[in-house]
């Protein structure tokens, strides 16, 4: 059985908050001429998707470290292919930090 509807909505709300926050950071940091509702969560960040390049990738890494407190290595950056994959990384980083504190 899947989780309860209440739990599903809670998972969704948490994910939405983080996703919306990351999209706003992305738009501000990279001066994208886009609104958050014009970026699908699985849109490709690079190439023909949002058209970001390697310089933008570095900026994303800095933004993640500064805004979300997650350290980013060169290897980590390979998984930054879409908003969702970046949010996965942020969530895992924040969870790991919370477990360290405990």
């Amino acid at each position: 059985m899947s989780q309860s509807m209440e739990d599903a909505l809670a998972i969704g709300a948490e994910r939405k908050e983080l996703t919306d926050r990351f999209k706003k950071v992305l738009i501000e940091r990279l001066s994208l001429a886009l609104k958050p509702d014009e970026i699908a969560d699985d849109s490709p960040l690079f190439g023909a998707g949002l058209g970001l390049d390697s310089v933008d990738a570095l900026e994303i890494a800095v933004a993640i470290e500064v805004e979300f407190g997650c350290e980013v290595t060169d290897e980590d950056m390979q998984v930054f292919r879409s908003v969702n994959t970046v949010v996965d990384f942020i969530q895992e980083g924040q969870k790991a930090k919370a477990e360290e504190v405990e």
Partner: protein, 327 residues
């Protein structure tokens, strides 16, 4: 199919691109005409560059996903998987616009895989290394046109070859692929390769969803002033009650297209297509989900005629390809 997958993800595949459509659009009115129909702005597109966008109806229904490239003489190549697009466009041709079928004079070879760039560099010269994604080059020595494009996450090229030269060129490129450990493939594998990278088919959308529910926001230039279907797409953007995600299925061979996704017995989504991913070693599906519960990390019960199982919404693309790892 397994061998075709391995060749495509580990070496280099060589195949004829069958089906779909290709048009050459020319004339003084070509740019304005296409720009009024396409969701991306092609006015600023430089020669030898391309854009991926949509042709939609006035009500926002998808006609076809398409790639348009500008040629050096300001004519345009228009490619799409939906053959119907050809008839739709030809029916709307206006003065100063000329449309011809590329298939009348040319056939297309596809080359894809992590070794595709090396192979094409050996065959067509080192200049191939400088072709950016969504660009093309005319190989004077080889007599064909090389487009760098694709949706599988690997290096991918489409080679436009004059009909008379096709057989010889195919043989040459296939031999080059074999020499690098690759070869011919069953083209049915292409849908699987694409969906692993969340690149969907037109059929995943047609009759089921609007383009934004399908997640094709990046194929729309929302700031573009006018194009057919703009008002509808802007409306969909404001009022999105459904979205799409990839879900991983817990048990193989159970889920199928049309199965509902439920939470506590409530219908919250539907599966559009299921594939088996050899890399992930599980079934994955492209699904439409109600927005409140359509988020990565949520689990769903799959109601299938084949039994019951669980599905979990995951991020895509599903993994980092060999092409990206090697880069």
């Amino acid at each position: 199919m397994e061998n075709s997958y391995e060749v495509s993800r580990q070496a280099v595949a060589c195949f004829e691109v069958a089906g779909g459509m290709g048009l050459k659009v020319s004339g003084d009115g070509a740019e304005a005409w296409l720009n009024g129909l396409f969701t991306k702005d092609i006015e600023m597109l430089p020669p030898f560059k391309g854009a991926i966008g949509l042709f939609v109806e006035d009500n926002g229904d998808l006609i076809a996903v398409s790639t348009i490239f500008r040629d050096e003489d300001d004519s345009f190549f228009v490619f799409a998987d939906q053959e119907e697009l050809s008839g739709v466009l030809k029916a709307q041709v206006t003065n100063g616009v000329y449309v011809s079928d590329i298939a009348d004079t040319h056939r297309v070879l596809g080359i894809l895989g992590p070794k595709a760039q090396d192979m094409m560099s050996d065959c067509a010269g080192e200049d191939i290394l400088g072709i950016p994604y969504m660009s093309f080059e005319k190989s004077e020595d080889q007599g064909y046109v090389i487009f760098r494009q694709g949706f599988t996450g690997e290096f991918e090229f489409r080679i436009l070859i004059e009909n008379g030269e096709f057989a010889a060129t195919h043989a040459e490129l296939l031999a080059a692929a074999v020499a690098l450990g690759g070869g011919a493939i069953e083209t049915e594998v292409l849908d699987l390769l694409c969906l692993e990278m969340r690149s969907i088919k037109d059929d995943d959308i047609l009759g089921q969803a609007n383009p934004l529910e399908a997640g094709l926001h990046w194929m729309v230039e929302f700031s573009k002033e006018n194009y057919r279907g703009k008002a509808a797409l802007d409306g969909f953007k404001m009022d999105q009650t459904r979205k799409s995600l990839i879900v991983k299925i817990a048990d193989p061979l159970i889920a199928q297209a049309g199965d509902t996704l439920e939470i506590e017995g409530k219908n919250v989504g539907v599966i559009a297509r299921v594939i088996h991913s050899p890399t992930l070693k599980c079934d994955v599906a492209f699904a439409y989900l109600d927005t409140p519960t359509g988020w990565v990390g949520v689990d769903y019960d799959v109601a299938s005629a084949n039994g019951s199982t669980l599905a979990k919404a995951v991020s895509s693309p599903l993994f980092v390809t060999q092409t990206v790892l090697d880069a």
